[in-house]
């Protein structure tokens, strides 16, 4: 059975040239029947067909703005497809934007709880994990402080510790995380590896070819919202690098 199936998925969204629409403008435009010049349609993903089987580790590469993060958010269910179907079997854990979403007035301890609840845990199951999470974060007595006073590095540590505390079924990762200082990064990498090996399916976006090669058994190359190539990691990386050089040469000339 496939953990993830995308059938002919496209995602378009509308972006406003300036600011948000006001009801006043909306009604005025509606009454006067003038064209909505304020709106640009972005075709973020186009006709993506993708299947991720149980046990697969899929990597996504592509230029900035190719739609990688959008694809991840679609897989995680945050973005709905404009057309086509998305089927995901299993609980999704996503690791992106993890340093967002804190209650700033609440202590680190409380925030650990909120995030765990958000991931579907109960007070009892969090109690069992609380100390392990705190220990992994190495934040010590800082956890008693409101999160408002945390540095960004501390926030990432906290977020990472919570987000990786439960074993995911389907793991979706944006960039192999660079969390905190050197020693923490090493630790985070070890935990990431173990998560990746225990998850039933993994989708990871990265610019780091080496880690993609190590982690993934298949790669997808996204180009301007299109699925340009999918296949064995070495082949895809080679093709991707070749095209980058091809793009670069005319510019240098």
């Amino acid at each position: 059975m496939n953990a993830i199936e995308l059938n002919d998925v496209s995602l378009h969204f509308r972006v406003r040239r300036h600011g948000r629409t006001s009801l006043k403008d909306y009604l005025l435009h509606g009454l006067l029947r003038r064209g909505e010049s304020n709106i640009i349609e972005v075709k973020a993903l186009q006709q993506i067909d993708l299947k991720v089987a149980q046990g697969e580790r899929l990597g996504i590469l592509g230029h900035n703005g190719a739609g990688k993060s959008t694809l991840l958010k679609l897989l995680a269910g945050v973005y709905p497809p404009t057309s086509g179907t998305r089927r995901v079997t299993g609980r999704v854990s996503s690791l992106f934007d993890i340093s967002l979403g804190f209650e700033h007035e609440a202590s680190g301890w409380d925030n650990i709880r909120y995030r765990s609840y958000l991931q579907g845990e109960t007070p009892r199951s969090v109690d069992a994990r609380l100390n392990a999470i705190a220990e992994f974060s190495e934040l010590g007595e800082h956890l008693d402080m409101p999160v408002r006073y945390y540095s960004s590095g501390m926030l990432v540590r906290l977020a990472f510790s919570v987000a990786t505390a439960i074993e995911p079924e389907i793991l979706i990762i944006d960039e192999v995380l660079s969390a905190g200082d050197h020693s923490f990064q090493a630790k985070a990498r070890v935990r990431m590896r173990s998560l990746i090996s225990s998850a039933q399916a993994v989708v990871v976006v990265s610019h780091d070819m080496d880690s993609l090669r190590q982690i993934c058994n298949r790669l997808v190359w996204l180009d301007h919202g299109h699925l340009r190539m999918i296949g064995e990691p070495n082949e895809v990386i080679a093709a991707y690098l070749r095209s980058m050089q091809g793009d670069a040469q005319p510019m240098a000339a």
Binding site: F13, R14, G19, R20, T21, S22, L23, K24, Y26, K73, A76, G77, V78, Y79, P80, S94, F96, D97, I98, L100, G101, F102, E103, E105, A106, D110, R113, Y114, Y117, L118, G120, E121, T122, P123
Partner: protein, 261 residues
């Protein structure tokens, strides 16, 4: 819709924890805690009593002050639910961007916070009414319970509506302020309802759903009776209508809302 409500229930630990956090922040910050937030309706009542009890003939302060206080408390809840409701999706933005969970959770968080405060104020109102005129029929106070439940569902639905509109149109909150200001005068909060009825303006009140809803609070509190069957049925109809409105709005654009945040 059942599945939707089940999803919300499954996440109860999450939103209840957030509500507790909100309340702690709200009450911890001020020196007097609860006091400040109660001071506003009390002061308003005192001032308005002074001014209006002289304007409205044939009504004593003992009668008028409870009408005012209960009305202002009711109104404070409605305003809080709708105004703060406006911001609820923006407040939860970073959660919305990471997790796919029912969006109605965020207005729920707001309304539960406002609702808690409403209950506390209501206790003060009950004490106040007791001092001013006493209760002829104490068991009638239990008649508040169905009304409070209906009010809560109504406020949640309205908060969902304002929150959604505010994401789609950035001037919603300004517009809402104006609408609420107007409604404030069209609802018998500052004046006894019979005043308008005598002046043949009763229809204004009749078509204002908030007049009906305010009866849910005032009948048990001031008239020593359970809410009348009329009031209950009409309130139920209003609440169901608001739920439908919220459900339609969410069904129409819940999934797309994330693009507008």
């Amino acid at each position: 819709m059942t599945a939707y409500m089940t999803d919300i229930w499954k996440l109860r630990n999450f939103w209840m924890a957030l509500v507790r956090n909100d309340l702690r922040n709200r009450y911890r910050r001020s020196l007097l805690g609860l006091g400040w937030s109660l001071l506003q309706p009390i002061a308003m009542t005192a001032v308005l009593c002074l001014v209006f009890s002289n304007l409205f003939d044939g009504i004593s302060i003992r009668e008028f002050a409870p009408i005012l206080f209960s009305g202002l408390t009711f109104w404070a809840f409605i305003v809080a639910a709708m105004n703060q409701g406006c911001q609820s999706f923006f407040q939860g933005e970073s959660y919305i961007r990471q997790h796919r969970i029912p969006l109605a959770i965020y207005p729920l968080r707001t309304v539960l916070g406002a609702g808690y405060h409403f209950l506390v104020s209501l206790v003060v109102v009950i004490g106040f009414v007791w001092i001013m005129k006493g209760f002829g029929n104490v068991p009638a106070l239990f008649g508040l319970i169905p009304g409070l439940l209906l009010l809560f569902v109504f406020a949640w639905s309205m908060a969902i509506c304002t929150a959604t509109l505010n994401v789609l149109f950035h001037d919603t909150s300004h517009l809402l302020e104006i609408v609420l200001q107007i409604l404030f005068y069209l609802t018998p909060i500052m004046y006894p309802p019979k005043l308008l009825q005598e002046k043949n303006l009763g229809w204004v009140l009749q078509w204002n759903p908030l007049t009906t809803l305010i009866g849910l609070i005032r009948q048990p509190l001031l008239e020593d009776t359970l809410p009348s069957a009329n009031t209950l049925m009409a309130s139920l109809a209003i609440t169901v209508a608001s739920v439908l409105l919220a459900a339609i709005l969410l069904r129409w654009c819940e999934r797309r809302l994330v693009f507008h945040l």
